[in-house]
Amino acid sequence: MALARKLLRVNLTQGTCVVEPVNQDWVKQYLGQRGLATKYLASEIDPKVDALSPENKLIYTVGPLTGTMAATGGRFSVVTKGPLTNAIACGNSGGYFGNELRSAGWDMVIFEGKSAKPVYLFIENEKAQLLPAEDFWGKSVWDTEGGIKKKHQDPQIRVSCIGRAGESQVLFAGIVNDLHRAAGRSGVGAVMGSKNLKAVAVRGTQGMSDIADPKAFMAAVKAGKKVLADNPVTGQGLPKFGTQVLMNVINEMGASPTRNHQDVEFAGARKISGEAMHEKRETDGKTHLVTNQACFGCTIACGRISRIDETHFSVKTKPEYWGASGGLEYEAAWAFGNANGVDDLEALQYCNLLCNEEGMDPISLGATVGAVMELYELGIISKEEIGFEAPFGSAEALCKLAELTARGEGFGKLLGQGSKRLCTKYGRPDLSMTVKGQEFPAYDGRALQGMGLAYATSNRGACHLRGYMVSPEVLGIPVKMDPKATEGKPEMLKAFQDATAVVDSTGLCVFTTFAWNLGDIQPQIQAACEGDWSMETLLATGERIWNLEREFNLAAGITGKDDTLPPRLLNEPCKTGPQAGMVAQIDKMLPIYYELRGWNTDGVPTTETRARLGL
């Protein structure tokens, strides 16, 4: 059976934990994880609430395939209203925590209210209790995970927690599990911090025994694994280079946003690429990369485990960073590297480690540093305000800014508000490379027209994981599309957005879709879950989830006017490279996209669309 078990409702104000059945009508409509939790959130809170107030809720949730043998079946999500965007926020994470939560018998945990004092939730199978977290408040993610395991004398506990960034409500604070995997974006960690909730610690030993048709499930899982193994991206490229396989590819496409999107090619890309991580360093003769690492159930294993250069200025007096740990993934490498013009691989890894240690989204942090560096070079922010010089290309400034933000010190307090608020404060909101308040990831919306539209319409602000048009526009998956063209992009984007909403609701990783299409996933869901999960049902489910998120955002006060890009992307063409001369042509695509979605010209779902989707 799918999500037919139970959810835990934790009222932090009252200090209570109550068991509830999962709403089965909603499971039929929203499947699980992202879809189902969004339905709960949208039904239980006023979308206009202050994201950092006790009235907001925070939902941990797994999918029907989480904790099964399905390849990558270990994902969980954290769904809330995000403080960075004031839109729906949904952070998805891997590692081993998701399986542990499901194995403890829980499909969802809903946190509401606010605790008077710092607490953490401790779950041992059916037993759930809020425990004092004063000993862990003020501690990093790494110290908190270690501390909780030590306190309970159980190294097999899995921990998902915030670091100091979440406590101090850095607006792009993430929630980190298993030391280096994160529900990273949109500030879900700040919401957790606002509730005085430090951690969720779980030990689950019940497992998953209610697969609807085990024989069919194992056959579908086996077939799916073969597709992943045989595919050149999931079978070879990702295991060897991780997502960093993209660094040189995207740069050579002239699609790598550089120095706060002033340029689209970065001369230093080669030095910080996946290939470079395999090369021996001059200082110690070791490679940066130590090994690849899988999340729970994953047969791809794209994760990077690296060892920083002990002699590097950022860590030479800090042995606590010398051991191998997570990073660099492509998005973090880009955000600290290209976005700031920094080509020092070790400095990027140091900043990435800080993000894991204190719980921050490396994309938003790196991109906000990029905005600071441009404002500094324009003379709008002074050296005195920052405390040091911060020109593009300065690895020293990047590392110092990351440290200040993680600790909530000095100029870091402002940086922790994200680039939209920071640039607005200095009278230059146009220099904030954001959509709906969230910073762009590592693909230029001018060079790749479809990605531009994906950013403009994403329900959680600028994001590559809501509709990955890089697949058709760069990699030719499922078909090759001309990145310069606008024709056909709204149609393809809608298909990607709906399919991704399904994948994010299953417990599977969206990276499988480099090789899998929905047709590879459908038999796995159908065999695991009772009821009808045909392709038609899944596609309708994806579209329903997308529209539900849209309606949440509309009710929160976000409108069709927010479906746009910063003026730089609309007016300043790509200066160099294969896409030179291109600007983002949102105006050509957006009306077609709205029509395809069944929305009116203001971007509001029509009565017919709402009725068709059962909203």
């Binding site: 090994t291 047969t299 740990s325």
Partner: protein, 157 residues
Amino acid sequence: MQKSLNIDPGKCTGCRQCEMACSYEHTGSFNTSDSRIKIFEFHHEGRNVPYTCTQCAEAWCLNACPVEAIKLDSLTGAKVVSESVCVGCKVCTIACPFGTINYKQETGKVQKCDLCGGDPACARECPTGAITFVDADWTGLDRMRQWAQKTDTQAQA
């Protein structure tokens, strides 16, 4: 001919497919806490190491058992726990130098690797070849081949 599990930690990515396969084979459910094989992550070394019973020839667990609940499967060479005989005294868990036989609270019995009757699920499902099932007399064969490859192959005149 008997076969042995052969584990190469250098190939392990830590995905836990082996643990899930083990639990599914033995219990019909996906539950890593029921697995007889366990992955240990040494995060700061960047290493994942699968560990399970080596099926010792002179098996401490088998010799320690006061009720003869652990028997040799002569076909596979596995030392197999008979749940109907096991009384849950845990002496075998003390005797085993490697910790690979463990008492389960839920059943009141001990459990260990039984080589799945000759077709171990962990080896079958490992996606990277970190766990293989090879000729029990030649567990060193791959490593020998690697060294052999490095030798000077020029024929002496």
